[in-house]
Symmetry: C4
């Protein structure tokens, strides 16, 4: 069981530099076993080139090490806070990918400006409020996770319909039903962050796309009558 | 016959990621057989790395599947609407390539700012008006194609002299006499979109290039006395 | 003799895509034999991947083909006009490289903003005035070359101290004592154009660097007491 | 002894083009032997592709050549001035890497805008004041080093807590306890310079991140209770 998840989480981590989402050791992916609730995560500060399956760290939901010789990613407490509150989430990715980080540094959410965005994210990708001095001084990484959870609660967002967030002055977190999907969503986030940034340079006061177009595209891929890809039950009217 | 076109359309699709025009599965190319009128298109949501000739979907002009086990691209109705109204077009490409998509998201046509543009596009590359709520709620993909056709009719544009368009809040479509040419034009569009974007950052109120220079370059490659490349009948005066 | 120059000019042309300076077939390099005065240039519209030594076209200074089965680059008359007036120039390169073309499209010269610029270009890299309608209607490519020559004459520029120019609404030409050096200068121009563009985005009213710093760097590499590289006679005072 | 340092400095130099930090021959790395005080540096103007261990130049702190057939980098006097005044520094890198050079050309320090910055640099990365005409006319490369030293003195900066600087109208220098670390810091600087540049394009009046968040991240990696990576003594509270 843990072996399979460790292999999956290793593969997810190795995909991050391939997608151009991490430089040096700046990123990590984790996965959760839906039955045991155990979480597997990348070890802290280990270069991707030398990462092996046995380096993966298995922890319980309180962060106690169950398996592994290395120290887990220093961002583990953020992952755990998200797993605790986002029950359908099975994989989480944190990176400092350029374009998403730029929005985070500017403390701005990414407005939906086109169908590329709408195919994956059901509205503006939120940016958390800045942490307070006491949050930063305390269990900082846990507080980061709680700030994300709180932001989603106040905006009534479903984490699977909005599978990413920007942490102000920091960078993005993305997630999904599995570690693999979380990596994909982190890659999509980066492309959308770039598209939105460059669009605003053409027109700095550009507003969001119409809600009905956003809905159509999000539902086309994710709704009950979804008709994108090969896995969906019914084809659209093509006439 | 279908076999040859399927091979051509496969090759055209595989060229898209090589030219850096698609990420993940976000793009598709199709081709039309001039005699039978049948259209071959990429299947929906299939990764480029695993795409094979037998995956290509053959449909008639009304979208009925003639050959193929997979569901066609969800954008097929847009392709069909264009083939119906642009009779000389033999290949169509849709991508979410970065720089062209940025102009589409900003809902702006690309003004002709230099000879690179003029070598391929006889004027401003248009951006369609936004679709209305009822167009989006209806046969959305067909309506997208009809909006392009309508835009070209109102501007009196010849699709072969203006082989690309931006769909507002969405992304680019490009075309040509064949699938291969459509891919080339999609690649050129992306480069021109980038040049124009960066030029406007140097001078946000930059106007279009002079019409006589635009004409000279477009005619140099596409007019009766064209003298670019090896296929043209006559060389220019070089003295 | 022609064989050696053809090999050099082929190598120079093949270097252009390697340096990221050309897309598709959008660029060409030529070289001049100092003794015979013959010029070798790339054929028009031939893809770089299939370019061979026997494809190179040898012409005299009036553009008459001396050797070669293919039609020369349509930009040949521009090269010839430059060779006629810039007697120390032995190689010329024309590209549509992104960042240099952006400055050309914006019809702006590139101001000297740092030592990278000053190491190669002794002042602002000029942009030619727009060609008039009658210049474009006539021997357009020759007129392009003459506009460059005229621009250098009016500014009293030595082509070897300012080995590049931007043609308004078109793109860059670069040159040097040989085809090889011309390619190097075209590559440097592209990097400098990018640095200057991005610098102006940080500060749109940024002025040129001090003249005494420009001079020091240009002389350090090109002056009598030059001390950069291994070929110079004397080392600088390093204490 | 010198052999080991020459191998290290060669490796550091070869890493520069791999990280995308140098074009052509525009960069150099050096290292200092802590016991002998001798400095090893890249030779001037030699392409990276042909660089070998025996090309490295060994000099004493006054720049006298102790070993090596080639002339040292023309920037050697700047390196030596830094080694003289920054006693804990064991390696120095100079590049013209794009984004860091852009800030240097705009004569602006890089404000701390996010945790990526705070993980490596304890505050704003300074830009030196412009050199005066007499400084440039004199021992220019030495004066460049002294301007950096003076800038750090006036700002009371510890070179190991602020392992990089921008030289106005020129480009970046980075350093560290070893040549290897200096290269890493030069790479980080480039990424941070890009993030900050793009962040300011989203919000040109963006201010620095809160000091308490900057401190937390810098201390998390560099302070007494550091808990990033595998080398640290204690894990953070993960609950």
């Amino acid at each position: 069981m843990n072996a399979r998840l460790k292999a999956e989480v290793l593969a997810a981590n190795l995909e991050l530099p391939k997608l151009g989402l991490v430089d040096f050791t700046w990123g990590n992916a984790s996965g959760r076993d839906p039955e045991s609730g155990l979480v597997v995560i990348k070890p802290s500060g280990v270069p991707y080139a030398s990462l092996r399956e046995e380096d993966m760290v298995v922890v319980d939901i309180d962060g106690r090490i169950v398996e592994g010789r290395l120290r887990p990613s220093s961002d583990l407490p953020t992952h755990l806070a998200l797993y605790r509150h986002f029950e359908k989430v099975g994989g989480i990715v944190h990176t400092h990918s350029t374009w998403a980080t730029v929005w985070a540094q500017a403390c701005r959410g990414i407005p939906p400006l086109g169908t590329t965005h709408a195919d994956y994210f059901d509205g503006e990708i939120p940016c958390t409020p800045l942490l307070t001095q006491s949050q930063v001084a305390g269990s900082y990484e846990t507080e980061t996770g709680l700030a994300i959870v709180d932001c989603f609660k106040r905006r009534a967002l479903d984490p699977l319909d909005m599978p990413a967030v920007l942490v102000a002055n920091h960078g993005p977190f993305a997630w999904g039903a599995s570690a693999d999907t979380a990596v994909h969503n982190a890659g999509v986030l980066e492309l959308i962050a770039r598209l939105a940034h460059l669009s605003l340079q053409l027109n700095p006061v550009l507003g969001a796309m119409p809600g009905f177009l956003l809905d159509r595209h999000f539902q086309r891929k994710h709704g009950h009558g979804a008709y994108y890809g090969q896995a969906q039950p019914a084809a659209p009217d093509v006439s």
